[in-house]
C-alpha cells in the first residue's frame, strides 16, 4: 500500500494505492465547523441528491444505470464528528482493470451527474420527490422509537453530551424539517461546492495517473477552503451525576453508564485508554463480561466504548428492568476493579495482544484506511504501526492511574415495560 497526498488550491487529494481489494473507492469529504441549523438539511439533501438527478430523473433510471455498471455503489451521508459536521459522497466500483476503458468513463459520468446535476427545476428540487422524501424522513424520525437500541443511544447522547455538538443526532426535529422548502434545500445545496467547506478526496484501490485523469471533470468542479479545523471538543461539564429513566414498550431494557475522561494526555487517550477499555469491556474475558454476564447472568450483551473527541467512556448493557439496581452497582464495581492491580495484571498482556489483532484489521478494512487519512486532517493520528508500538509500551501503572481521571457522569436506562 502506498499513500500520496496532493494539496491543491480547492481540495486535498489522498491517493491510497493498493491491490488488496477488487474494488476501488472514491470518497469526497466536505467538512466545516458544526452548526446545528444545518441538521435539518443534512440527510434530506443527500437523499434528494442520490434519489434522482437531472439526467436520471426517476429512481428506476438511477438504479438501472447503477446495475448496468456492475452494481456500483453510490451514497451520500451527513454526519457530526466532534466539533465538525461533514457531507460524505462516495462511490465504490469494481477495479476498472476487469473491463474496457469505457467502464471508468461511464462511472465518472454517473458520479458527476449525481454530484453536480441534481434534479432541480426553476431553482428548487423536483417537488414530487422532495415532498415524498421529506414525508418519509419525518416518518423515519418518528419511527426511531421502534428501534430500542438506536433510540436509547440517541437519548443517552443527548444527556451525556449536553451543550456540545455530540448532543445532537443527525435526525432533525420534525418541526425544523417541516419548515424546509424545496427551494431552500437547493439554496443549501449550492453552498456545498462554493468554498464553505474544506474538501478532501480519497481514492483507494489499484489506481494510476490515468485513473486520476479520468476523475478530473469531478475534481475541477470542487471548490473548497483550507480552514484549519479540529474534531476535539473542549467543554466544561458539570460534576453532577445525572440519573434518568425513560419507559417504552419493549421486552428488554437498555442501560448506559457514562464516565467523563478528564485532561488525558495524547498517550493516555490513544494508548492507555485503549488498553483500559479492552480490559474493562471488549476482550473475551473482559471484567464486565465475566462479572455481569457470566457470574451473575444479568445480560446477554455488555461492553464498553470510548469517545476521543468528547472524552468519555461508556458502558452499555441489555438487561431485565428488575435487575437495574443490581446491574448498575456491579458495573460501578467493575470500573472500581480497574484499580485492582491483581485483576489488571491477569488480563494486561492478553489485552495488548487482543489490540494487536484488532490493529491488523486496519489492513483488511478499506473504509478504515480511507477514514484514517481523512481524520489525520483534523486530529493527530499515528500510523497503525506506530500506534502498535506505543500501545505495547503501556504499563500496568498507567492503566491503574487512568482511574484518577475518570468520573461518573450519567446513568441512563430506557426501561422496557413489556
Amino acid at each position: 500500500m502506498e499513500y500520496k497526498k496532493i494539496k491543491e488550491k480547492d481540495y486535498t487529494l489522498h491517493i491510497i494505492n493498493s491491490n488488496r481489494f477488487k474494488s476501488v473507492s472514491i470518497v469526497i469529504f466536505l467538512t466545516k465547523k458544526f452548526n446545528k441549523k444545518d441538521i435539518p438539511y443534512g440527510r434530506l439533501l443527500t437523499q434528494n441528491m442520490f434519489y434522482t438527478s437531472k439526467k436520471y430523473n426517476t429512481k428506476s433510471k438511477v438504479v438501472s444505470a447503477v446495475e448496468d455498471l456492475y452494481g456500483i455503489r453510490g451514497s451520500g451521508s451527513y454526519g457530526i464528528t466532534g466539533e465538525c459536521e461533514s457531507f460524505v459522497f462516495s462511490l465504490d466500483l469494481l477495479n476498472p482493470k476487469y473491463f474496457d476503458k469505457s467502464y471508468l468513463k461511464k462511472v465518472v459520468k454517473y458520479f458527476y451527474e449525481t454530484l453536480f446535476n441534481p434534479n432541480v427545476e426553476d431553482g428548487h428540487f423536483n417537488d414530487e420527490y422532495f415532498n415524498m422524501l421529506k414525508k418519509e424522513m419525518i416518518s423515519s424520525i418518528k419511527s426511531l422509537k421502534d428501534n430500542p437500541r438506536t433510540y436509547a443511544s440517541i437519548n443517552y447522547n443527548s444527556i451525556m453530551y449536553k451543550g456540545t455538538p455530540s448532543e445532537y443526532s443527525v435526525y432533525p426535529n420534525i418541526e425544523d424539517i417541516e419548515k424546509i422548502s424545496s427551494s431552500e434545500l437547493y439554496e443549501f445545496y449550492k453552498t456545498l461546492f462554493n468554498g464553505e467547506y474544506k474538501v478532501d478526496v480519497a481514492i483507494h484501490g489499484e489506481v494510476d495517473d490515468d485513473f486520476i485523469k479520468e476523475l478530473s471533470p469531478i475534481l475541477k468542479r470542487l471548490k473548497g477552503n483550507n480552514n484549519k479545523l479540529h474534531f476535539a471538543i473542549n467543554h466544561k461539564y458539570s460534576d453532577k451525576v445525572i440519573n434518568k429513566i425513560d419507559v417504552l414498550p419493549f421486552n428488554q431494557s437498555r442501560l448506559y453508564i457514562g464516565y467523563r475522561l478528564n485532561d488525558l494526555s495524547f498517550h493516555e487517550m490513544n494508548h492507555v485508554l485503549r488498553v483500559y477499555n479492552t480490559i474493562l469491556g471488549t476482550m473475551n474475558d473482559s471484567i464486565l463480561f465475566n462479572i455481569v454476564r457470566e457470574e451473575n447472568s444479568l445480560c446477554y450483551t455488555i461492553g464498553s466504548y470510548y469517545s476521543k473527541y468528547n472524552p468519555s467512556l461508556t458502558v452499555y448493557a441489555g438487561i431485565n428492568k428488575k435487575n437495574y439496581e443490581k446491574t448498575v452497582e456491579l458495573i460501578k464495581k467493575c470500573v472500581e476493579d480497574m484499580k485492582d492491580r491483581k485483576k489488571i495484571e491477569k488480563l494486561f498482556e492478553s489485552a495488548k495482544k487482543t489490540i494487536n489483532t484488532y490493529l491488523n484489521n486496519y489492513y483488511d478494512d478499506l473504509t478504515l484506511q480511507v477514514d484514517t487519512y481523512y481524520n489525520k486532517e483534523f486530529e493527530e493520528i499515528e500510523d497503525v504501526e506506530t500506534a502498535r508500538e506505543n500501545i505495547n509500551k503501556v504499563t500496568i501503572d498507567e492503566v491503574i492511574k487512568l482511574n484518577d481521571k475518570i468520573s461518573l457522569s450519567t446513568i441512563y436506562m430506557m426501561k422496557g415495560d413489556n
Binding site: 488488496r20 481489494f21 477488487k22 474494488s23 426517476t58 429512481k59 428506476s60 438511477v62 438504479v63 438501472s64 446495475e67 455498471l69 456492475y70 452494481g71 469494481l94 414530487e128 415524498m132 414525508k135 418519509e136 416518518s139 423515519s140 418518528k142 419511527s143 422509537k145 421502534d146 428501534n147 414498550p249 419493549f250 421486552n251 428488554q252 476482550m283 473475551n284 474475558d285 463480561f289 465475566n290 454476564r293 457470566e294 457470574e295 447472568s297 444479568l298 445480560c299 446477554y300 450483551t301 441489555g318 438487561i319 431485565n320 488480563l347 498482556e349 492478553s350 495488548k352 495482544k353 487482543t354 489490540i355 494487536n356 489483532t357 491488523n360 484489521n361 489492513y363 483488511d364 422496557g416
Partner: protein, 421 residues
C-alpha cells in the same frame, strides 16, 4: 489434499476428508495478517425430532443454540480461556437452522489457535449447574431478539405459513422452551450429532498447508474418534395450505409493517438445485420490487409504502416468496400488492442487469476471509457441497428459463401479517 479453484477469481481451496470422516477446508492467502479458524457441525435448529438406531429423540426448541453456548463456555474453562487471551484471539460461535459454527479470529500463532479451538470443541462439560446458570443469559438474548420488530414479524409469518415445520420455532427458542432444557438432553444431542463425519474444519489465512494438516491429523489420532451413524432427521409433514392466512398484530409502531407471502411446492419448478431456483426468483422479484422497478416508484409516490424488501426461501419441499413493507397505509398496500403480485414480469435487459449485479457480489465475496469462511460454511451446512462454478451458473443463466420459472409461480396460497396500533 485436493485443490479446487473458484472460477474467474482463481482462488484455491484445499480439501481433504480424514479417515474418521471430518472434512477439512483450507483457504491459504497472503492478503491478510489475520486468520480465521472454524469448526462446524451440520446440526442446527431444523432438527426437531431424530432417530438413531431404534431410538427416537424429540428435540426441545432452542437446544442447538443452547448447546452452542455450553460448548463455547470459556468462562467455565479458565485454562482454555487464558490460552485464548494469551494469544490475543477472539473466540465466538453462532447457530442457524442448518448448523453450528465455532470460530477463532486471531493474528498470533495459528497452530496454537487451531489446537485451542479443537480443545474447546472436544472438551465440553455440560452439567445441571452450568445449564441452569446459562438460562438467564439466553433469556436476555431471547428478549433482545423479541424487540427487533422485523425478526419478530418473521417469526409470526413462519408460524402462520406453516403447520408443523421446524421453521415455526426460532433458533433461540422461547423462554418457556429453554426452561425445559437439561444437561442430559444437551449431552444426548452432543453425543449423537457432534460426531466426526458430521463435522468440518475451515482454516483461512496465511499458513503452511502441510503443517496445519499434520496438526489436525495428530489431534484426531490422539482422540481416536471413529465415524458414527449420523442420526436421521425426522421431517415434519407439512401441508401445502397456509396455516393462518391473515393476522393482525398489535404493536405500538410509528409506521406499520406488512408481510405478504405465498407458499408453494418447490417441485413444480422442476429445478433440482435450490440455489439456482432461488437466483431466478430473486432476479424476477428484483425486477418488480427493487428501486429499479416502476412499481417501486409508483408505490412510493402514491405513499403506499416507505420501503419494500423481498425474500425467497425453501423449507424442505416448500418454497416461500415473501415481501416485507414498512407502510403508513397497510390496507391500501395489501389491496394493491395482492393485485400486482400477479402481474410479475421481467425483460431480457432487466435479467442481464441482475446478472451484472450478481457478478459484482461474487467477485467481492473473496476480499474478506470471514466472508469466504461464512460462504463455505453455509454451502456445506445447507447444500452439503461447495459450488466452484457459481460464476458459470450465473453467466449461463437463461432468460427463457426465468420466464418459465415466472410462469409457474403459484399465487393462490397467500399469508398476510399486518401490524396495527
Amino acid at each position: 489434499m485436493i485443490k479446487k479453484t473458484f472460477e474467474k477469481v482463481n482462488e484455491d481451496l484445499y480439501t481433504e476428508k480424514l479417515k474418521n470422516g471430518i472434512e477439512v477446508y483450507l483457504y491459504k492467502t497472503d492478503k491478510t495478517k489475520n486468520f480465521y479458524i472454524t469448526i462446524s457441525v451440520k446440526y442446527g435448529a431444523y432438527v426437531t425430532k431424530y432417530k438413531v438406531g431404534k431410538r427416537v429423540v424429540e428435540v426441545i426448541p432452542g437446544s442447538a443454540h443452547f448447546l452452542e453456548h455450553k460448548v463455547m463456555a470459556l468462562s467455565e474453562n479458565p485454562e482454555i480461556s487464558k490460552r485464548i487471551n494469551d494469544l490475543g484471539s477472539l473466540a465466538n460461535a453462532w447457530t442457524s437452522y442448518y448448523g453450528t459454527n465455532y470460530n477463532i479470529f486471531g493474528s498470533i500463532n495459528l497452530i496454537e489457535n487451531l489446537k485451542l479451538l479443537l480443545d474447546i470443541f472436544y472438551n465440553t462439560d455440560i452439567n445441571e449447574k452450568n445449564v441452569e446458570e446459562e438460562k438467564g443469559i439466553i433469556g436476555e438474548e431471547i428478549d433482545m431478539y423479541k424487540d427487533k420488530i422485523d425478526g419478530l414479524l418473521s417469526e409470526y409469518l413462519n408460524k402462520n405459513l406453516f403447520t408443523n415445520s421446524y421453521i415455526r420455532n426460532t433458533v433461540v427458542g422461547e423462554r418457556s422452551d429453554i426452561e425445559k432444557i437439561t444437561a442430559k438432553s444437551l449431552n444426548q444431542i452432543y453425543s449423537d450429532y457432534y460426531v466426526p463425519n458430521n463435522t468440518f474444519i475451515t482454516v483461512c489465512g496465511n499458513f503452511d498447508i502441510d503443517e496445519v494438516m499434520d496438526v489436525i491429523n495428530n489431534y484426531m489420532d490422539k482422540l481416536n474418534l471413529k465415524p458414527k451413524t449420523i442420526p436421521t432427521r425426522i421431517k415434519d409433514k407439512e401441508k401445502l395450505e397456509v396455516n393462518v392466512p391473515y393476522e393482525e398484530i398489535t404493536k405500538d409502531l410509528e409506521a406499520n409493517r406488512v408481510k405478504y407471502a405465498i407458499k408453494m411446492d418447490k417441485r413444480i419448478f422442476g429445478i433440482k438445485d435450490d440455489n439456482i431456483l432461488k437466483d431466478y426468483l430473486i432476479a424476477i422479484l428484483s425486477s418488480n420490487f427493487s428501486p429499479s422497478s416502476k412499481l417501486y416508484e409508483k408505490y412510493r409516490l402514491k405513499e403506499l409504502m416507505l420501503s419494500i424488501s423481498y425474500n425467497v426461501y425453501t423449507i424442505d419441499d416448500i418454497l416461500i416468496i415473501s415481501l416485507t413493507s414498512i407502510t403508513k397505509n397497510p390496507d391500501e398496500f395489501i389491496k394493491n400488492i395482492k393485485k400486482d403480485i400477479r402481474k410479475l414480469k421481467i425483460t431480457k435487459i432487466e435479467f442481464e442487469r441482475k446478472k451484472k449485479k450478481y457478478i459484482r457480489n461474487y467477485l467481492l465475496d473473496f476480499d474478506n476471509i470471514e466472508d469466504i469462511e461464512y460462504n463455505i460454511a453455509l454451502s456445506l451446512m445447507i447444500d452439503g457441497k461447495i459450488n466452484y462454478h457459481e460464476f458459470s451458473d450465473c453467466i449461463n443463466a437463461k432468460y427463457e428459463e426465468a420466464l418459465r420459472v415466472l410462469s409457474l409461480i403459484n399465487y393462490d396460497n397467500e399469508c398476510i401479517i399486518k401490524t396495527i396500533k
